[in-house]
């Protein structure tokens, strides 16, 4: 089964074409995990590389992400049956309370999904208690914030995790325009990444997968 056309369609952000190719691949007998591992994940890996090289920009990345997401939806029933497809880990993401920006977080979600993680998105303006609640069900908790005045809330979330005794149960990643490695270190986060592609790599590192 030649999956290169599917790979190319995802990489090129051709959303409808990609879904068509994914359907064809399933019909011609390719298993979901092969389609995933040989076309979708490598395509998103290449998207990340092109983005980091400055050859891809936000629109190209989002279009490829959408193509991947729609293909995944197409494959979902088949993936559920495939016992040998396990996610790399579970990631729960959210934008901290007081902040409703979400495109950066959504991109991180797409790239994590594209790297093979299971991603749950808590959305925007997320209260501390919801992060605390999610901490026990995730391998990685990702906090996003876009405004210099909202990122101090990340420290409060960490405090709330400590108070609830669950801080050590989860790896904590932070990101967003005003967030820096220094800031991440200062509040005691486990990881920071400057963009979505780097976030996917960092998540693998945090779980000892890379």
């Amino acid at each position: 089964m030649d999956l290169s056309t599917l790979y190319q369609a995802v990489l090129g952000g051709e959303v409808d074409e990609a879904v068509e190719k994914a359907k064809e691949a399933v019909q011609s007998g390719a298993t979901a995990d092969v389609i995933l591992k040989q076309a979708l994940l490598p395509a998103m890996d290449e998207v990340g590389r092109l983005f980091e090289n400055g050859e891809y920009f936000l629109p190209e990345m989002l279009a490829a992400g959408l193509a991947m997401k729609n293909c995944m939806a197409e494959l979902a029933p088949h993936l559920a049956q495939a016992a040998n497809v396990k996610p790399l880990g579970k990631v729960v993401l959210g934008t901290v309370q007081g902040d409703v920006h979400d495109i950066g977080k959504n991109l991180v979600g797409l790239m994590l999904q594209g790297a093979g993680f299971e991603v749950t998105d808590l959305g925007i303006d997320v209260p501390r208690a919801r992060f605390v609640e999610a901490a026990t069900q995730a391998d990685i908790l990702g906090l996003s914030g876009l405004v210099s005045t909202t990122i101090p809330e990340m420290a409060h979330v960490i405090k709330a995790l400590q108070d609830a005794g669950v801080r050590d149960k989860v790896k904590l990643m932070v990101g967003g325009a005003p967030v820096t490695q220094e800031f991440a270190d200062s509040i005691g986060a486990d990881g920071y990444a400057k963009d979505a592609a780097a976030a996917a790599r960092k998540a693998k590192q945090l779980l000892g997968l890379e």
Binding site: F57, Q97, V100, T149, P152
Partner: protein
């Protein structure tokens, strides 16, 4: 401190004509929280009820501007908008005339921001979906607004900055929602082109109407915000900019500049574009832009010395004093050193107005705003000796 030999307005106009004034001019836009903090710190009590804008920004009262030492005063949006639009989203506090709906988002530690919760073109995908969309009328400038501009011109020596239209590219983002818009740019280019064409028509008409009324008072016309960069790089490729965005911006800028300079031959047009935008600067200069704001120095590649070298003979710069880290978290001494560096990089030959890189937020200590001004007074007199 050197000797002032120019009025603030002459200082600004001279700098923007790429000549060295007596010293580097100072400018600032500010949010309500920071404004109140600054006034309190400076012991200024005046009777005013500032109108709070969409970004919680306020106009600095000319008296406060003079007392602080600003050379530029920004006068808020002079266009009287059409009939009020009622919001429909349960969380929305108000709707704007483009039918974007906004909610107040409170932070757990106090303070708030207005954010969009509904985008009117969220479901549109085809050019024909735009048929019948209620594009706003250009609107008009009320006589009392003209009178206010006149009064500020007559009673102060400050350069006047205003904005008579809104954005094109960035407004398209609001109308569609960020994620949808940036995805559409890749997968539905014809649709995106048509959206921007509609918006540009309104904005160009708006600039012409407004500047025919107040153009003679306007020294710097802010062409609204067209953010084209992230921290790490441009939001779109130069190729996409040229194909999809540039034709519409060029239409608006040309109309604005022509009308402005017909009434004030020394008037300049200024683009606000955040982030890592160096790759677009030559195009912007080709398109007739005079001034670029804010030179976000924390974004990748926004090296002030390099930018001055690359495009400083064609563009002037407004901004460069970092609002993300330096002003909120730096010490007054760090602010002082940074202002010195930016003047050294961008100041030679004129063409530079010191300003924070965005509306000053409530987390900026007034001490740092004073340090910014004092550093200009210390290092900003021409001939520069840095």
């Amino acid at each position: 401190m050197g000797k002032e030999t120019m009025t603030p307005r002459e200082r600004v106009l001279t700098a923007l004509e790429h000549r060295e004034p007596d010293r580097v001019p100072i400018s600032m836009t500010i949010t309500i929280d920071a404004y109140n903090n600054l006034k309190k710190y400076m012991g200024i009590e005046i009777d005013e009820k500032p109108k709070v804008g969409r970004w919680t920004d306020v106009d600095i009262h000319p008296l406060v501007a003079e007392k602080y030492g600003l050379d530029v005063v920004r006068l808020g949006d002079p266009i009287a908008k059409g009939p009020k639009v009622e919001p429909t989203h349960p969380r929305a506090l108000f709707a704007d005339e483009w039918r974007c709906e906004w909610a107040r988002v409170d932070r757990p530690d106090g303070g708030y921001y207005y954010e969009m919760v509904k985008h009117p073109l969220a479901e549109a995908t085809k050019v024909s979906d735009l048929d019948g969309f209620p594009w706003p009328e250009p609107g008009d400038v009320l006589p009392e607004t003209v009178e206010y501009f006149h009064k500020v011109r007559e009673t102060t020596d400050l350069a006047i900055m205003t904005k008579t239209a809104e954005a094109v590219f960035e407004l398209a983002t609001y109308l569609n929602g960020h994620q949808k818009w940036y995805t559409d740019l890749a997968i539905r280019p014809e649709y995106c082109y048509a959206v921007m064409e509609h918006i540009a028509e309104v904005q160009a008409a708006r600039d012409i109407v407004a500047l025919n009324k107040i153009g003679k008072y306007v020294d710097v016309l802010r062409l609204s915000g067209e953010d084209m960069g992230t921290q790490e790089g441009p939001l779109i490729s130069l190729k996409m900019f040229r194909q999809l965005v540039r034709p519409h911006l060029e239409k608006v800028w040309t109309a604005a500049k022509k009308t402005l300079t017909a009434h004030n031959p020394r008037g300049k047009i200024m683009l606000h574009s955040c982030g890592a935008v160096r790759i677009f600067m030559q195009d912007w200069a080709d398109m007739g832009l005079d001034v670029l704001d804010p030179i976000q120095t924390t974004a990748k590649g926004m090296d002030t010395a390099l930018i001055k070298q690359e495009v400083g003979d064609r563009l002037s710069f407004h901004g460069a004093i970092d609002i993300q880290w330096l002003l909120p978290h730096g010490t007054p001494e760090q602010v002082r050193q940074d202002v010195r560096k930016r003047i050294k990089d961008l100041g030679p030959g004129g063409g530079f107005i010191v300003s924070p890189t965005h509306n000053v937020q409530g987390d900026v200590p007034p001490e740092n705003l004073i340090a910014m001004r004092d550093a200009v007074w210390e290092f900003g007199y021409y001939p520069l000796d840095l």
